[in-house]
């Protein structure tokens, strides 16, 4: 598990540097943990918003298809398709970005002129009123669909960011910090050992010198 950093010299300089790094790693770990928690909170907010939107889209589309199928059976499939072909393009989207804790999520805005039945472009004399209703429903469903796109993308981006942050937090917590701490400990012990060795060496020399003085003095 927690090993040492290879190739460190057990010196006081090195020890000071390592202590700085431990401090930095701890700070980074704390910050990342806070970021992760904040992101999770944001994700819950977005999910709360998303709840119901999918259901809403499903409901709107179900109604729209019901009307469309009736229109097709009244007017015939070909006439319906013909009518559909003659509708002018009127849907566009505007993109903006929102920044959630450094994650850029899209804000999608539908650009759509609300058209009256006459402005739609298909021949009213040849089409059934059911077609108008179907068109209404499909028009109404576009905005929720775009909203769905926005929300699902936000959830996706946030979830990915959370995963990334989580991995970093864990890497710091379980690998980087223990490794740094172990290395500091190793250096500290090594320095202590060297000090003891030195101390012993001095004592030894002192006693040798003392012994020599005793033997040399009478002479």
């Amino acid at each position: 598990m927690a090993e040492l950093i290879e190739g460190v010299n057990p010196t006081r300089m090195e020890l000071l540097k390592l202590k700085e790094r431990v401090k930095l790693a701890r700070k980074g770990h704390k910050l990342l943990k806070e970021k992760r928690d904040a992101l999770v909170m944001e994700l819950f907010d977005v999910i709360e918003e998303a709840r119901g939107i999918r259901g809403n889209v499903e409901r709107l589309l179900r109604e729209a298809f019901e009307h469309l199928i009736i229109a097709e059976s009244v007017m015939g499939v070909l006439t319906t398709q013909e009518a559909a072909m003659s509708v002018e393009e009127s849907v566009g989207v505007d993109f903006a970005n929102k920044n959630i804790m450094g994650v850029l999520v899209p804000l999608i805005e539908a650009q759509r002129e609300k058209k009256t039945v006459i402005e739609r472009g298909y021949e009213l004399r040849e089409t059934s009123a059911k077609l108008d209703e179907a068109t209404d429903k499909f028009e109404d469903s576009i905005e929720p669909i775009l909203k769905l796109a926005e929300i699902e993308t936000s959830v996706k981006l946030l979830a990915e960011e959370i995963e990334k942050t989580k991995r970093r937090v864990n890497a710091l917590e379980y690998i980087v910090i223990p490794r740094l701490e172990n290395t500091t400990k190793y250096i500290e012990m090594r320095l202590d050992e060297m000090e003891r060795e030195n101390f012993f060496r001095l004592k030894r020399i002192k006693s040798i010198l003392a012994a020599r003085e005793v033997t040399e003095a009478p002479a």
Partner: protein
């Protein structure tokens, strides 16, 4: 900048969205056809949202996942919608899987009061 919405789906879906005023529609009959259309849509810079029916998306799941993993920008966004046969019942949606992996709990998007 205003961008466009494209739709890939079966005949009725196409008719419906054409009526609503979307011109970039691609009617597809088979998975290969859908894959071909989707691929060409990925290249287009003016299309920012691709609406695709769930049934077709399910057949192209691998391709969509690959694309989502590779794309660098946020767009184009792929939205899956139910077709005329109604929403598909799936055990877990791809989104749920992602959320579960990120925060470790399962959340059901959609219906109220069913989350765990």
């Amino acid at each position: 900048m205003s961008a466009k919405v494209a739709v890939i789906g079966d005949q009725d879906t196409i008719v419906g969205f054409r009526l609503a005023g979307i011109k970039e529609t691609y009617e597809v009959g088979s998975a290969e056809e859908a894959a071909k259309n989707l691929k060409s849509l990925f290249q287009r810079k003016d299309i920012n949202i691709i609406v695709i029916t769930e049934r077709i998306a399910e057949q192209l799941r691998k391709m969509i996942d690959d694309f989502e993993a590779k794309k660098e920008e946020v767009v184009p966004i792929i939205v899956e919608i139910p077709d005329k046969k109604g929403p598909m019942r799936r055990e877990v949606t791809p989104l749920q899987k992602l959320v579960k992996r990120a925060i470790g709990i399962e959340i059901i998007l959609g219906e109220r009061g069913r989350e765990e």
